[in-house]
Symmetry: D2
């Protein structure tokens, strides 16, 4: 489990990769609280449960919560119309017929929509949770009620965690041929424990930075014999999930925790990658005065042209009201900076794991911690100065705000054609695929947006197919790894 937080990333673990101690955040969700705290303490593994059709091919907290979970899924579906339309378009032809997918992701209403779409397209699915705290028990119950073999609950022990994964893979008379992973634990488990199954996997779709990192290492070591799709670096994830998701959630996270007014506030944003760009845009738009720190001269020059002063942290630390880290770096904020912050300065992290803010340096005998609200601590200096630390340095938007379903939809939708592509790869490994453009086009109706179509003459003049792809190849997807495998990497698009 420790491997989860081992690898750095510029843009952080966006998606759903919530940090482990995120459990206390549910009170910030707009949804009604998902879990019944008065639940009995019997482990789900001990319980005998069957759904209304008599099946007991699952393990969840409480199958009776299915109806409530279904309502949450339905609310999510309203903002994931792309997946629904994909479901409708492809339902007849069952393009995923024959796919036997084992999945390991956060189990939320949004991923439920994804899983049910995979099923609707013909796949058989077995699912576990990639995080021991993040499962919405009601949603898991709704999935189980609908017939998905789901093994997950909130508050699993580490032993439970691997037990659930194993229950997905190790099945008599059913052998997975596809993996959909978030973090790499499932992939690792199959690779280590069931090498024979692993060899016959037709494709892996991985969406987290950590998981992709692990796949690269495997590939470097010459041991990745399976085609793997890196959804993390897809255009749809990078350019939409990171930028827009943070633009939407930074204000929300700050408001829900501190009720801070943005107008006129001085804010320093550490890092001007996609995450930083999103934060800066939103804060500036609401009247904050934003400073940027950067190590990369290109991002720094962009910040300048976008109207932000690029400074060293030490230049502004005494005057800012809010510090937001988006660096993807470890230990970016040593004690000296915290020492010099002014009273009531708010400190939070949008970038990566706890390590961006040097929280441990604040756990000293000199400093007093006072929990003033859920997710809000005052760290009090001997002279009475207070620094307001949010979510103990964990990701603010995942801990203290909700993330727009629509944006999650873009990434989730990407996984469906990815699965389909990998199924086909066996037969046509040279396939020039552009799932990103397809996925983007599925989301346009939500905006009532109308694409212009090239005339034949124009298409010819431009040397393009009328239906795309419209980007040069190097923007979209590149087979990266040789051997007998294909590794798609979707590069960034401007």
């Amino acid at each position: 489990m420790q491997e989860f937080t081992k690898f750095p990333t510029k843009t952080g673990r966006r998606s759903l990769s919530r940090s482990i101690s995120q459990s206390s955040t549910d009170s910030y969700s707009s949804a009604a609280s998902y879990t019944d705290s008065s639940d009995d303490e019997v482990s789900p593994r001990e319980k005998q449960q069957t759904n209304s059709k008599g099946s007991s091919n699952f393990c969840v907290k409480n199958i009776k919560q299915a109806e409530f979970g279904r309502r949450e899924i339905e609310i999510a579906e309203q903002d994931m119309s792309a997946l629904i339309s994909l479901r409708k378009r492809a339902q007849g032809e069952k393009p995923l017929a024959g796919a036997k997918i084992v999945g390991c992701t956060h189990i939320t209403a949004q991923t439920a929509v994804l899983i049910e779409t995979l099923c609707a397209l013909g796949a058989q699915c077995r699912w576990s949770a990639c995080n021991i705290y993040s499962t919405q028990n009601e949603v898991a119950a709704a999935l189980a009620e609908a017939g998905v073999a789901v093994f997950a609950w909130k508050g699993e022990s580490e032993d439970d965690f691997w037990w659930c994964i194993d229950r997905c893979v190790n099945v008599d008379g059913w052998q997975a041929n596809m993996i959909l992973d978030d973090g790499g634990d499932l992939t690792h488990w199959v690779y280590k424990k069931y090498p024979n199954i692993f060899k016959k996997i037709r494709g892996i779709v991985e969406e987290s930075v950590t998981g992709v990192h692990r796949l690269y290492q495997l590939s470097k070591a010459g041991k990745l014999c399976v085609p793997a799709m890196n959804v993390n670096d897809s255009v749809t994830k990078q350019k939409f999930d990171n930028l827009y998701c943070c633009r939407e959630s930074i204000l929300d996270g700050l408001k829900r925790t501190t009720d801070v007014m943005f107008g006129g506030k001085q804010v320093v944003v550490c890092g001007y990658g996609e995450v930083g760009k999103g934060c800066c845009a939103a804060l500036k738009a609401l009247g904050a005065i934003v400073y940027v720190t950067e190590i990369d001269p290109i991002c720094a020059l962009q910040a300048c042209m976008d109207g932000f002063r690029v400074v060293k942290l030490s230049e502004v630390i005494r005057q800012v009201d809010v510090v937001i880290t988006c660096t993807g770096r470890d230990g970016g904020r040593p004690g000296e900076h915290l020492d010099r912050m002014k009273n009531s300065c708010i400190v939070c992290n949008m970038g990566h794991s706890n390590t961006e803010i040097d929280v441990t340096s604040l756990r000293t005998p000199e400093l007093t911690w006072e929990r003033v609200r859920s997710q809000v601590d005052h760290v009090i200096w001997p002279d009475g100065k207070r620094v307001v630390l949010l979510a103990e340095g964990r990701l603010l938007n995942l801990s203290c705000s909700t993330v727009p379903t629509f944006v999650l939809s873009i990434t989730a939708t990407t996984q469906v054609p990815s699965q389909a592509l990998l199924l086909l790869c066996d037969e046509s490994p040279s396939l020039s695929c552009s799932p990103d453009e397809y996925v983007a086009s599925l989301h346009l109706p939500s905006f009532d947006a109308h694409l212009t179509e090239l005339t034949d003459d124009q298409a010819k003049y431009l040397g393009l197919n009328k239906n795309g792809p419209f980007k040069p190849n190097y923007y979209r997807s590149v087979p990266l790894l040789g051997a007998q495998s294909l590794f798609f990497r979707w590069e960034l698009h401007p």
Copy 2:
């Protein structure tokens, strides 16, 4: 009590004038829940309570909650540094010595800061609540513990309401000489029940539209023998409270209830007064496409120049994702419009009372209501179409978001010099006052903003005093009513 909602207003009842059924909103507050729902059901009027100093000169829900309330007050103080600095500056000279103020306002952490400032400046205060649901019991307890004669709790009956007011006014050996009112109920009570006290009141400060309306009526009828300060129309309230407060809170209210993504959403804002301007600015800044409806050609032309399409509601109602009313009008949204909204359209009100959205027209046998989350109802048409109604048409930002303490601070701070001015009015009725500029200057240090000072030559050239006032008289304050009284109205400033 019904008079509360009787009078229209362009800009709505901003400030703290929360609607009556606001009680269910506490779950949206970032503060921990203020009230212990398992509290015993004994009426505070029946209880015997004393604070730690042995005084029982108050009536609150539970004096034991004082410590928790004190913490909330302290948090509020951090964003109300102007009041605190006023407290510090004027504390020595006690400018309000001799003031015996009866107050009737929402009792929240922010008003507690105001009350304690009045006390620190030498005033004696007795306080009741202007709304039977809005009292934060813990804050009332903290005030009582600190020695303020406060009579208020959450969930008063109407009888309780007037009993509390009466307890403030009707005291042996103590006679109020100042009124600080929000809504006019206290003023009305004193005027009707204690005419002898009323005659000796040296000044009334009123901050709500409704209360001001009632004062105007009294004045028109020749019965307002007391100088009254209209804080509602002060520059500091109109130009800051309305515009910036709505800019800050519209996004927050929508996010906390619906998690809606703003990017690309089509929104129609009905009304382009200060409230509408604030909403439009925030929504556009976060990537929404905003349409405006207006009846007033000047506001309409401003909307045009600011980059919004000005339309009739019928032109866009089929395509918008969100409808926000800020008209100050009754019945602005008849059933026909709701009929034509698209599925999942969100409808909310930032403007005035429930009547802006024609909620009653939705209470029909044909339409099904489904409460999906706190403050969020789905109204379901026979064909399955759902309209998402927030806060049952009550003010969104007061019901579903928090309002920035800092902005409230501006209005609250205005009340202190208003009290002082009225105290002085007796002696110098021709006083050319500019509390608005003074109040604004008190808030500048929060931004580390530094005013430029005129040189003697420049001041002379401009015909100004170096310390202001800087605006022509008609921008600031005008004595409106004759008789033996003075009525200050602070006009708008651009």
Copy 3:
């Protein structure tokens, strides 16, 4: 003539009040150059000219330029559709029949559209120029050709200036009964030289700060026996002309002179009135980092909330790339500040007359001036440092950019109903007029904007007439002066 620059103003002389040495600016106009520099040097007063209908009731530079001038007028008409529609609506009823108007304004294509509208509505007009340099000779020729008695050319001597005014007023068999003035010179001339005519004037419409100031003085002295309409303080001028006109023209003026890139530039804007607000909004929008200086705490607080740091000039003078003055103050920029500017710093004035920037302090033996382009001087310090001074400190947007015709149209259109109102005032002095709302509504069709109409019920509920006025009286127009006269002042609207 010296009186022109005597009076201060917060917002400066926007409209067309170009400074005297503006003559060199023609090269910046997008229109082809208006004047034929090779023109003969004979004074127009010496020439015998007749238009094509045989009339010689005018005095212009060269009647043969009429056709070119007509084209410029036609181009202007396209952006002044409100005046044209007013022309069409009211043409039948000739509401200005009987009006004999003497006018004294800048003579440009835009004012030509106004003059011809007045004529179309039934007025008889005689016109001179309010500035010796600003006349577009071709436009004057076109007016003369069309039958307007116009007496104006570019490059008048001071003697010519008063001769032209006199030719308008002093006519056998024709006696003016209305004055339309810009600056007050015409009014002054009639008042002093023709007191008998002055007494019978039915109304004065004045649009400049200076002229209004002079009228106030006259009124204070009890000598203003004529109703006067202060268009300068009308909502339509203040809220549109100042704010939006500056937002549109600040970027234009800087680009045309210096080609400066805005992205990332540090700019200090001195003054945050309407002019400053417009400049700040535009610069921030294009990626500049903007600082504000202010003397007025209310404007300063607005700047803070709008996301600008409020500083003293000395705090930022060493680091800024551009300094823009909008203070309405004299000598705002003493030598010490210029001394500390960095190399290549651009200095310009959007606010008032030359005196905002202390240009004379730069005319010293130590400093070298180098004219690098038209309207652009490098002032060179002994150590080689260069400060880039635009338009020698005169108004940047009038000197170096064009001003949007549409915005001018709003103010110009205001003058037509003003004339009509004053005609009527004699008969109905208590008339509650709202020309500003009417004028605004005339401009909405340009934006295809559709006003919402109140239902009868709503109007009744709001206590409003369905057709307005929608603003409280104190927003719109107030009769200010007693005697037998009326003085309309239109107050500001938020």
Copy 4:
């Protein structure tokens, strides 16, 4: 010459690639007019000229204009401080010693700064013009006076054009070993006429779309035996030149030609690549209502999220006030669309060559053309409707505005390390180069921007060198072509 316009491009030929009939644009330049129109008509090829040092190794219009040209160069230097600092830093070590560069670019003040930097770093240079109209004669004179072998003047014949190129290449006793090209004509000439020289060229730097396209074709055909650096696709050009340059110049181009007011204008921007993004951002920021058309679903989705309605042109063509093409497509605007535009609609092109707007379809007997101002034509329909066509459909910003020197500086600066890199490539072909980060860092001091430096620990944690490169390899530079050559392509960076 015809090849110039043959190749399509998404983003158009930004940089300096002015279209051929751009000659009439000089009047829009803020600089004084570069050419003396009364110049004698003798061809420079016939003239005998020597500079003040007695050299006649050049061919320009008039060597006497050198001083004026020098001043223009000096003005440009002020905004190209990165090149100047590069000059200073590397001057001692003369990194380009041994480089014998033939160049063929637009000859402007900005390129003069580049050429003189190359010389200062040790290179020998011979230069011709890549466009027969774009040469600033004074600048060419200044270069010649400074000793650069420059062969160029404004108004060359096609024969002159190739003669000048040949004079650069075909020199006794001097053999070029580097090519700096803009458009590919010089490369083509050397390749065809001097194959022996071509073989020994150590590197080509090409910055235009067209030129890069020709190199790719050469490479595909296996005939590119020389390493070539594609500056056109460098991060610094794509992300800065295209986006920010258009953001800065679209407003300028529209203002200088039409004085149009932006507030409330409805504008459709065809294409949402970098150019379209820049145009949309600027227009929205100034209050225009912007619609977008797109063929590419990813760009379309970005437009949605950024707050623009994505439409087909036919949906909005009747209502828009301005049409801007940025498609890189041919014939994007057939007659039908122009037919349906409203009166006074402005049409212009920011994207590519004339062909984006179907100008020829407007050259019909039915339609009357009227040249109303320089670069502004009214195309008049039989019913009187006028469409305002700017620059006859050529690139608006290059024809009618100036382009910020600072942005040009970024691309120009990129060429210096490119030259150096190519010099080194011979020796170390596997060099992992990152000139883009270096170039960006050189521009930061202009903004007083301060980079943060990684600590050793952080660098180690991130697996980065403290001095960069900070981007993964695929963001920066990729060797594209095998054989014995290297072809650097700098890919896009987010």
